[in-house]
Symmetry: C2
Subunit: 243 residues, 2 copies
Protein backbone atom coordinates (compact mmCIF):
# COMPACT_ATOMS: atom_id res chain seq x y z
CA UNK A 1 0.00 0.00 0.00
CA UNK A 2 2.73 2.49 0.98
CA UNK A 3 5.01 3.12 -2.02
CA UNK A 4 8.64 2.10 -1.32
CA UNK A 5 9.91 5.39 -2.71
CA UNK A 6 7.96 7.43 -0.19
CA UNK A 7 10.57 9.51 1.69
CA UNK A 8 9.11 8.55 5.05
CA UNK A 9 8.70 4.87 4.13
CA UNK A 10 10.24 3.41 7.31
CA UNK A 11 8.21 5.60 9.63
CA UNK A 12 5.01 4.78 7.73
CA UNK A 13 5.77 1.04 7.87
CA UNK A 14 6.21 1.19 11.66
CA UNK A 15 2.92 3.08 11.87
CA UNK A 16 1.23 0.36 9.80
CA UNK A 17 2.66 -2.28 12.15
CA UNK A 18 1.14 -0.42 15.10
CA UNK A 19 -2.14 0.07 13.25
CA UNK A 20 -2.22 -3.68 12.56
CA UNK A 21 -1.59 -4.37 16.26
CA UNK A 22 -4.38 -1.92 17.09
CA UNK A 23 -6.76 -3.89 14.86
CA UNK A 24 -5.73 -7.04 16.76
CA UNK A 25 -6.33 -5.33 20.11
CA UNK A 26 -2.69 -5.38 21.25
CA UNK A 27 -2.21 -1.63 20.92
CA UNK A 28 -4.83 0.75 22.31
CA UNK A 29 -6.07 3.30 19.77
CA UNK A 30 -4.82 6.00 22.12
CA UNK A 31 -1.41 4.31 21.94
CA UNK A 32 -1.20 5.17 18.24
CA UNK A 33 -1.35 8.88 19.07
CA UNK A 34 1.27 8.43 21.79
CA UNK A 35 3.51 6.78 19.23
CA UNK A 36 3.10 9.77 16.94
CA UNK A 37 4.23 12.11 19.69
CA UNK A 38 7.33 9.99 20.06
CA UNK A 39 7.99 10.08 16.31
CA UNK A 40 8.08 13.87 16.38
CA UNK A 41 10.63 14.00 19.17
CA UNK A 42 12.64 11.19 17.57
CA UNK A 43 12.84 13.27 14.42
CA UNK A 44 14.19 16.12 16.54
CA UNK A 45 17.01 14.04 18.04
CA UNK A 46 17.92 12.84 14.54
CA UNK A 47 16.44 9.31 14.84
CA UNK A 48 19.64 8.03 16.43
CA UNK A 49 20.93 7.15 19.90
CA UNK A 50 22.69 10.25 21.16
CA UNK A 51 25.77 10.16 23.37
CA UNK A 52 23.75 11.15 26.43
CA UNK A 53 21.12 8.48 25.68
CA UNK A 54 23.89 5.87 25.51
CA UNK A 55 25.18 7.02 28.91
CA UNK A 56 21.62 6.74 30.24
CA UNK A 57 21.26 3.22 28.79
CA UNK A 58 24.51 2.08 30.43
CA UNK A 59 23.38 3.55 33.75
CA UNK A 60 20.06 1.72 33.36
CA UNK A 61 21.93 -1.55 32.87
CA UNK A 62 23.94 -0.92 36.03
CA UNK A 63 20.74 -0.23 38.00
CA UNK A 64 18.95 -3.33 36.69
CA UNK A 65 21.93 -5.57 37.45
CA UNK A 66 22.42 -4.24 40.99
CA UNK A 67 18.72 -4.31 41.91
CA UNK A 68 17.36 -6.66 44.58
CA UNK A 69 14.38 -7.30 42.27
CA UNK A 70 14.18 -5.63 38.85
CA UNK A 71 10.92 -5.65 36.87
CA UNK A 72 10.34 -4.53 33.28
CA UNK A 73 6.78 -3.19 32.93
CA UNK A 74 5.52 -3.75 29.37
CA UNK A 75 2.54 -2.06 27.70
CA UNK A 76 0.91 -2.60 24.31
CA UNK A 77 3.12 -0.25 22.31
CA UNK A 78 6.32 -1.72 23.76
CA UNK A 79 5.15 -5.27 23.07
CA UNK A 80 4.10 -4.40 19.50
CA UNK A 81 7.37 -2.68 18.67
CA UNK A 82 9.94 -4.55 20.73
CA UNK A 83 8.89 -8.02 21.95
CA UNK A 84 12.18 -9.53 20.75
CA UNK A 85 14.22 -6.75 22.33
CA UNK A 86 12.41 -7.30 25.67
CA UNK A 87 13.28 -11.01 25.53
CA UNK A 88 16.94 -10.21 24.93
CA UNK A 89 17.07 -7.68 27.76
CA UNK A 90 15.40 -10.16 30.09
CA UNK A 91 18.05 -12.75 29.30
CA UNK A 92 20.88 -10.26 29.84
CA UNK A 93 19.51 -8.66 33.00
CA UNK A 94 17.50 -11.50 34.54
CA UNK A 95 14.68 -9.03 35.24
CA UNK A 96 11.06 -10.11 35.62
CA UNK A 97 8.59 -8.91 32.98
CA UNK A 98 5.08 -7.81 33.94
CA UNK A 99 2.37 -6.67 31.53
CA UNK A 100 0.90 -3.44 32.83
CA UNK A 101 -1.61 -1.40 30.84
CA UNK A 102 -3.06 2.10 31.03
CA UNK A 103 -6.10 0.92 29.04
CA UNK A 104 -6.35 -2.40 30.87
CA UNK A 105 -8.62 -5.28 29.90
CA UNK A 106 -8.12 -8.99 30.56
CA UNK A 107 -8.26 -9.58 26.81
CA UNK A 108 -5.42 -7.14 26.10
CA UNK A 109 -3.34 -8.58 28.95
CA UNK A 110 -3.79 -12.04 27.37
CA UNK A 111 -2.95 -10.88 23.81
CA UNK A 112 0.16 -9.01 24.91
CA UNK A 113 1.31 -11.89 27.12
CA UNK A 114 0.94 -14.26 24.15
CA UNK A 115 2.88 -11.94 21.84
CA UNK A 116 5.71 -11.60 24.37
CA UNK A 117 5.83 -15.35 25.04
CA UNK A 118 6.00 -16.07 21.29
CA UNK A 119 9.19 -14.00 21.30
CA UNK A 120 10.69 -15.88 24.23
CA UNK A 121 9.79 -13.57 27.12
CA UNK A 122 8.98 -15.17 30.48
CA UNK A 123 5.94 -13.17 31.63
CA UNK A 124 4.90 -12.98 35.29
CA UNK A 125 1.39 -14.20 36.01
CA UNK A 126 -0.71 -14.00 39.15
CA UNK A 127 -3.60 -12.12 40.68
CA UNK A 128 -3.24 -8.35 40.41
CA UNK A 129 -3.99 -6.18 43.47
CA UNK A 130 -4.63 -2.45 43.83
CA UNK A 131 -1.18 -1.53 45.08
CA UNK A 132 -0.34 1.55 42.97
CA UNK A 133 -1.76 4.79 44.48
CA UNK A 134 -4.06 5.58 41.52
CA UNK A 135 -7.78 5.37 40.84
CA UNK A 136 -9.53 2.52 39.00
CA UNK A 137 -7.71 -0.27 37.23
CA UNK A 138 -4.56 1.76 36.91
CA UNK A 139 -3.83 0.82 40.52
CA UNK A 140 -3.46 -2.85 39.58
CA UNK A 141 -0.16 -4.71 39.57
CA UNK A 142 1.17 -8.04 40.71
CA UNK A 143 2.28 -8.17 44.38
CA UNK A 144 5.14 -10.49 43.43
CA UNK A 145 6.10 -8.26 40.43
CA UNK A 146 5.94 -4.46 40.42
CA UNK A 147 4.60 -4.65 44.00
CA UNK A 148 7.82 -6.28 45.21
CA UNK A 149 10.34 -4.63 42.85
CA UNK A 150 12.89 -2.07 44.00
CA UNK A 151 13.87 -1.08 40.42
CA UNK A 152 11.33 -0.82 37.58
CA UNK A 153 11.99 -0.18 33.91
CA UNK A 154 8.84 1.33 32.36
CA UNK A 155 9.25 2.17 28.68
CA UNK A 156 6.65 4.63 27.34
CA UNK A 157 4.89 5.24 30.66
CA UNK A 158 2.16 7.71 31.55
CA UNK A 159 3.23 10.56 33.85
CA UNK A 160 0.63 9.77 36.54
CA UNK A 161 1.82 6.23 36.87
CA UNK A 162 5.44 7.15 36.88
CA UNK A 163 4.75 9.52 39.78
CA UNK A 164 2.71 6.90 41.63
CA UNK A 165 5.52 4.35 41.34
CA UNK A 166 7.97 6.90 42.76
CA UNK A 167 5.55 7.48 45.66
CA UNK A 168 5.69 3.73 46.37
CA UNK A 169 9.42 4.17 46.89
CA UNK A 170 10.42 2.46 43.65
CA UNK A 171 13.42 3.47 41.59
CA UNK A 172 11.96 4.20 38.15
CA UNK A 173 13.84 4.01 34.86
CA UNK A 174 11.90 5.16 31.80
CA UNK A 175 12.41 5.31 28.06
CA UNK A 176 10.69 8.44 26.75
CA UNK A 177 11.43 10.44 23.61
CA UNK A 178 9.90 13.58 25.10
CA UNK A 179 12.42 15.06 27.54
CA UNK A 180 9.76 17.55 28.71
CA UNK A 181 7.13 14.98 29.68
CA UNK A 182 6.17 14.49 33.30
CA UNK A 183 7.34 10.90 32.98
CA UNK A 184 10.77 12.03 31.81
CA UNK A 185 11.04 14.55 34.62
CA UNK A 186 9.64 12.30 37.37
CA UNK A 187 11.67 9.17 36.71
CA UNK A 188 14.97 8.61 38.50
CA UNK A 189 16.57 7.89 35.13
CA UNK A 190 15.24 8.81 31.69
CA UNK A 191 16.58 7.35 28.47
CA UNK A 192 15.56 9.82 25.73
CA UNK A 193 15.62 7.38 22.84
CA UNK A 194 13.35 5.30 20.65
CA UNK A 195 12.42 2.04 22.38
CA UNK A 196 13.83 -0.37 19.76
CA UNK A 197 17.18 1.43 19.95
CA UNK A 198 17.22 1.95 23.73
CA UNK A 199 16.44 -1.62 24.77
CA UNK A 200 19.33 -3.20 22.80
CA UNK A 201 21.64 -0.49 24.16
CA UNK A 202 20.75 -1.54 27.72
CA UNK A 203 21.15 -5.22 26.79
CA UNK A 204 24.60 -4.61 25.32
CA UNK A 205 25.62 -2.65 28.41
CA UNK A 206 24.45 -5.51 30.67
CA UNK A 207 27.12 -7.75 29.21
CA UNK A 208 29.86 -5.18 28.74
CA UNK A 209 30.10 -3.10 31.94
CA UNK A 210 33.65 -3.03 33.26
CA UNK A 211 34.28 -3.96 36.92
CA UNK A 212 33.37 -0.96 39.07
CA UNK A 213 31.80 0.90 36.12
CA UNK A 214 28.24 0.19 37.26
CA UNK A 215 28.82 1.69 40.72
CA UNK A 216 30.45 4.76 39.18
CA UNK A 217 27.59 5.26 36.71
CA UNK A 218 24.97 4.99 39.45
CA UNK A 219 26.90 7.35 41.76
CA UNK A 220 27.20 10.00 39.07
CA UNK A 221 23.60 9.76 37.74
CA UNK A 222 22.26 13.25 37.02
CA UNK A 223 18.89 12.99 35.27
CA UNK A 224 18.53 16.78 34.85
CA UNK A 225 21.78 16.72 32.89
CA UNK A 226 20.52 13.88 30.66
CA UNK A 227 17.28 15.73 29.91
CA UNK A 228 19.14 18.97 29.23
CA UNK A 229 21.49 17.17 26.82
CA UNK A 230 18.51 15.78 24.88
CA UNK A 231 16.88 19.20 24.72
CA UNK A 232 20.13 20.74 23.49
CA UNK A 233 20.27 18.15 20.69
CA UNK A 234 16.74 19.11 19.64
CA UNK A 235 17.44 22.83 19.73
CA UNK A 236 20.56 22.34 17.65
CA UNK A 237 18.71 20.27 15.08
CA UNK A 238 15.90 22.82 14.85
CA UNK A 239 18.46 25.58 14.35
CA UNK A 240 19.79 23.93 11.20
CA UNK A 241 16.56 22.36 9.99
CA UNK A 242 15.87 24.72 7.11
CA UNK A 243 19.42 24.80 5.75
CA UNK B 1 -12.47 6.84 31.89
CA UNK B 2 -9.85 9.61 31.89
CA UNK B 3 -9.77 11.25 35.34
CA UNK B 4 -10.59 14.99 35.15
CA UNK B 5 -7.61 15.84 37.36
CA UNK B 6 -5.15 14.31 34.90
CA UNK B 7 -2.77 17.16 33.94
CA UNK B 8 -3.11 16.34 30.25
CA UNK B 9 -6.88 15.93 30.41
CA UNK B 10 -7.71 18.07 27.34
CA UNK B 11 -5.15 16.40 25.12
CA UNK B 12 -6.33 12.94 26.22
CA UNK B 13 -9.97 13.87 25.55
CA UNK B 14 -9.11 14.99 21.99
CA UNK B 15 -7.26 11.71 21.51
CA UNK B 16 -10.33 9.80 22.72
CA UNK B 17 -12.46 11.74 20.24
CA UNK B 18 -10.11 10.70 17.44
CA UNK B 19 -10.00 7.12 18.71
CA UNK B 20 -13.81 7.08 18.71
CA UNK B 21 -13.81 8.42 15.12
CA UNK B 22 -11.28 5.71 14.23
CA UNK B 23 -13.64 3.05 15.60
CA UNK B 24 -16.37 4.54 13.40
CA UNK B 25 -14.08 4.50 10.34
CA UNK B 26 -13.89 8.29 9.92
CA UNK B 27 -10.28 8.53 10.99
CA UNK B 28 -7.71 6.10 9.58
CA UNK B 29 -5.69 4.31 12.25
CA UNK B 30 -2.58 5.85 10.67
CA UNK B 31 -4.23 9.24 11.21
CA UNK B 32 -4.05 8.72 14.96
CA UNK B 33 -0.26 8.58 14.81
CA UNK B 34 -0.18 11.67 12.59
CA UNK B 35 -2.25 13.45 15.20
CA UNK B 36 0.26 12.50 17.86
CA UNK B 37 3.08 14.02 15.83
CA UNK B 38 1.09 17.22 15.68
CA UNK B 39 0.51 17.17 19.44
CA UNK B 40 4.24 17.11 20.06
CA UNK B 41 4.90 20.13 17.86
CA UNK B 42 1.88 21.93 19.31
CA UNK B 43 3.34 21.46 22.75
CA UNK B 44 6.55 23.06 21.47
CA UNK B 45 4.79 26.19 20.19
CA UNK B 46 2.99 26.50 23.54
CA UNK B 47 -0.43 25.23 22.34
CA UNK B 48 -1.38 28.73 21.20
CA UNK B 49 -1.61 30.67 17.92
CA UNK B 50 1.69 32.49 17.58
CA UNK B 51 2.04 35.93 16.04
CA UNK B 52 3.55 34.49 12.85
CA UNK B 53 0.76 31.88 12.60
CA UNK B 54 -1.80 34.68 12.84
CA UNK B 55 -0.04 36.52 10.02
CA UNK B 56 -0.12 33.29 8.00
CA UNK B 57 -3.84 32.82 8.71
CA UNK B 58 -4.64 36.37 7.55
CA UNK B 59 -2.60 35.81 4.40
CA UNK B 60 -4.51 32.56 3.81
CA UNK B 61 -7.80 34.45 4.05
CA UNK B 62 -6.59 36.98 1.50
CA UNK B 63 -5.59 34.18 -0.89
CA UNK B 64 -8.88 32.30 -0.51
CA UNK B 65 -10.92 35.47 -1.07
CA UNK B 66 -8.98 36.55 -4.16
CA UNK B 67 -8.91 33.09 -5.77
CA UNK B 68 -10.76 32.35 -9.01
CA UNK B 69 -11.82 29.00 -7.46
CA UNK B 70 -10.80 28.11 -3.90
CA UNK B 71 -11.22 24.55 -2.61
CA UNK B 72 -10.77 23.26 0.94
CA UNK B 73 -9.55 19.65 0.83
CA UNK B 74 -10.75 17.78 3.93
CA UNK B 75 -9.42 14.47 5.28
CA UNK B 76 -10.57 12.26 8.15
CA UNK B 77 -8.60 13.95 10.91
CA UNK B 78 -9.76 17.42 9.87
CA UNK B 79 -13.39 16.31 9.69
CA UNK B 80 -13.19 14.57 13.07
CA UNK B 81 -11.62 17.55 14.81
CA UNK B 82 -13.06 20.54 12.97
CA UNK B 83 -16.26 19.89 10.98
CA UNK B 84 -17.93 22.96 12.52
CA UNK B 85 -14.88 25.15 11.86
CA UNK B 86 -14.84 24.01 8.21
CA UNK B 87 -18.51 24.99 7.85
CA UNK B 88 -17.80 28.44 9.27
CA UNK B 89 -14.80 28.98 7.00
CA UNK B 90 -16.83 27.88 4.00
CA UNK B 91 -19.52 30.46 4.82
CA UNK B 92 -16.93 33.23 5.27
CA UNK B 93 -14.79 32.40 2.23
CA UNK B 94 -17.34 30.84 -0.13
CA UNK B 95 -14.80 28.09 -0.92
CA UNK B 96 -15.82 24.66 -2.16
CA UNK B 97 -15.15 21.69 0.12
CA UNK B 98 -13.92 18.36 -1.27
CA UNK B 99 -13.27 15.21 0.74
CA UNK B 100 -9.86 13.86 -0.22
CA UNK B 101 -8.25 10.95 1.60
CA UNK B 102 -4.79 9.40 1.79
CA UNK B 103 -6.35 6.10 2.90
CA UNK B 104 -9.26 6.31 0.48
CA UNK B 105 -12.30 4.04 0.50
CA UNK B 106 -15.82 4.82 -0.71
CA UNK B 107 -17.07 4.02 2.78
CA UNK B 108 -14.77 6.57 4.43
CA UNK B 109 -15.67 9.21 1.82
CA UNK B 110 -19.34 8.61 2.65
CA UNK B 111 -18.85 8.72 6.43
CA UNK B 112 -16.79 11.91 6.29
CA UNK B 113 -19.21 13.58 3.87
CA UNK B 114 -22.07 12.77 6.27
CA UNK B 115 -20.18 14.13 9.26
CA UNK B 116 -19.39 17.37 7.42
CA UNK B 117 -22.94 17.78 6.15
CA UNK B 118 -24.31 17.28 9.67
CA UNK B 119 -22.26 20.32 10.64
CA UNK B 120 -23.56 22.42 7.76
CA UNK B 121 -20.77 21.98 5.21
CA UNK B 122 -21.76 21.86 1.53
CA UNK B 123 -19.61 19.01 0.19
CA UNK B 124 -18.77 18.65 -3.50
CA UNK B 125 -19.86 15.39 -5.09
CA UNK B 126 -19.10 13.91 -8.47
CA UNK B 127 -17.02 11.25 -10.16
CA UNK B 128 -13.35 11.41 -9.19
CA UNK B 129 -10.67 11.14 -11.88
CA UNK B 130 -6.95 10.41 -11.70
CA UNK B 131 -5.79 13.99 -12.07
CA UNK B 132 -3.12 14.28 -9.34
CA UNK B 133 0.31 13.02 -10.51
CA UNK B 134 0.53 10.19 -7.95
CA UNK B 135 0.16 6.41 -8.00
CA UNK B 136 -2.98 4.49 -7.03
CA UNK B 137 -6.03 6.06 -5.50
CA UNK B 138 -4.08 9.02 -4.26
CA UNK B 139 -4.34 10.45 -7.77
CA UNK B 140 -8.10 10.79 -7.44
CA UNK B 141 -9.89 14.11 -7.15
CA UNK B 142 -12.95 15.80 -8.58
CA UNK B 143 -12.42 17.55 -11.95
CA UNK B 144 -14.83 20.29 -10.89
CA UNK B 145 -13.20 20.57 -7.43
CA UNK B 146 -9.46 20.25 -6.78
CA UNK B 147 -9.00 19.62 -10.51
CA UNK B 148 -10.34 23.06 -11.36
CA UNK B 149 -9.13 25.04 -8.33
CA UNK B 150 -6.38 27.64 -8.48
CA UNK B 151 -6.04 27.89 -4.67
CA UNK B 152 -6.34 24.86 -2.37
CA UNK B 153 -6.35 24.82 1.41
CA UNK B 154 -5.20 21.38 2.57
CA UNK B 155 -5.01 21.06 6.34
CA UNK B 156 -2.87 18.15 7.59
CA UNK B 157 -1.70 17.00 4.15
CA UNK B 158 0.87 14.36 3.21
CA UNK B 159 4.10 15.72 1.70
CA UNK B 160 3.79 13.69 -1.50
CA UNK B 161 0.39 15.07 -2.26
CA UNK B 162 1.32 18.61 -1.41
CA UNK B 163 4.18 18.35 -3.92
CA UNK B 164 1.92 16.81 -6.57
CA UNK B 165 -0.61 19.62 -6.19
CA UNK B 166 2.17 22.16 -6.65
CA UNK B 167 3.24 20.30 -9.80
CA UNK B 168 -0.29 20.74 -11.13
CA UNK B 169 0.26 24.49 -10.83
CA UNK B 170 -2.01 24.94 -7.83
CA UNK B 171 -1.36 27.47 -5.09
CA UNK B 172 -1.29 25.37 -1.92
CA UNK B 173 -2.04 26.62 1.59
CA UNK B 174 -1.49 24.10 4.35
CA UNK B 175 -2.01 23.90 8.11
CA UNK B 176 0.80 21.83 9.60
CA UNK B 177 2.22 21.89 13.12
CA UNK B 178 5.55 20.54 11.94
CA UNK B 179 7.48 23.39 10.31
CA UNK B 180 10.10 20.88 9.11
CA UNK B 181 7.72 18.60 7.24
CA UNK B 182 7.87 18.32 3.46
CA UNK B 183 4.31 19.58 3.37
CA UNK B 184 5.23 22.69 5.34
CA UNK B 185 8.23 23.36 3.12
CA UNK B 186 6.52 22.59 -0.18
CA UNK B 187 3.34 24.61 0.29
CA UNK B 188 3.14 28.21 -0.91
CA UNK B 189 1.86 29.18 2.51
CA UNK B 190 2.11 27.20 5.75
CA UNK B 191 0.12 27.98 8.86
CA UNK B 192 2.02 26.36 11.73
CA UNK B 193 -0.88 26.00 14.11
CA UNK B 194 -3.36 23.46 15.44
CA UNK B 195 -6.26 23.00 13.02
CA UNK B 196 -9.08 24.01 15.38
CA UNK B 197 -7.26 27.25 16.16
CA UNK B 198 -6.05 27.97 12.62
CA UNK B 199 -9.39 27.55 10.82
CA UNK B 200 -11.28 30.10 13.01
CA UNK B 201 -8.33 32.49 12.62
CA UNK B 202 -8.74 32.32 8.82
CA UNK B 203 -12.51 32.70 9.16
CA UNK B 204 -12.14 35.80 11.34
CA UNK B 205 -9.65 37.30 8.88
CA UNK B 206 -12.07 36.68 5.98
CA UNK B 207 -14.50 39.15 7.50
CA UNK B 208 -12.01 41.63 8.94
CA UNK B 209 -9.41 42.35 6.25
CA UNK B 210 -9.03 46.11 5.67
CA UNK B 211 -9.29 47.45 2.09
CA UNK B 212 -5.97 46.77 0.34
CA UNK B 213 -4.68 44.63 3.23
CA UNK B 214 -5.22 41.38 1.31
CA UNK B 215 -3.10 42.51 -1.64
CA UNK B 216 -0.34 43.70 0.71
CA UNK B 217 -0.36 40.40 2.64
CA UNK B 218 -0.13 38.35 -0.57
CA UNK B 219 2.62 40.56 -2.02
CA UNK B 220 4.75 40.25 1.11
CA UNK B 221 4.23 36.50 1.65
CA UNK B 222 7.52 34.88 2.71
CA UNK B 223 6.93 31.26 3.72
CA UNK B 224 10.56 30.66 4.72
CA UNK B 225 10.19 33.50 7.22
CA UNK B 226 6.99 31.97 8.62
CA UNK B 227 8.64 28.56 9.06
CA UNK B 228 11.71 30.11 10.66
CA UNK B 229 9.53 32.07 13.09
CA UNK B 230 7.77 28.86 14.16
CA UNK B 231 11.08 27.08 14.61
CA UNK B 232 12.41 29.95 16.70
CA UNK B 233 9.34 29.70 18.96
CA UNK B 234 10.06 26.01 19.46
CA UNK B 235 13.75 26.55 20.19
CA UNK B 236 12.91 29.26 22.69
CA UNK B 237 10.39 27.07 24.47
CA UNK B 238 12.82 24.16 24.60
CA UNK B 239 15.47 26.45 26.06
CA UNK B 240 13.27 27.28 29.05
CA UNK B 241 11.48 23.96 29.31
CA UNK B 242 13.22 22.66 32.42
CA UNK B 243 13.08 25.89 34.42
Amino acid sequence: MIPKDHPRYRSLVVRERLAECAREGIVALEGLASHGRGEAFDYLIGEKTTESALLAARTAAAMLLSARHAVISVNGNTAALAAREIAELQRASNADVEVNLFHRTDERIRLITNLLEEHGVRVLSGTPERLIPLSHDRALCLPEGIGDADVILVPLEDGDRCEALRKMGKTVITIDLNPLSRTARTANLTIVDEVTRALPAITTACTSLEPGEGERLIASLDNAYLLRAAIDEMRERLAHALE
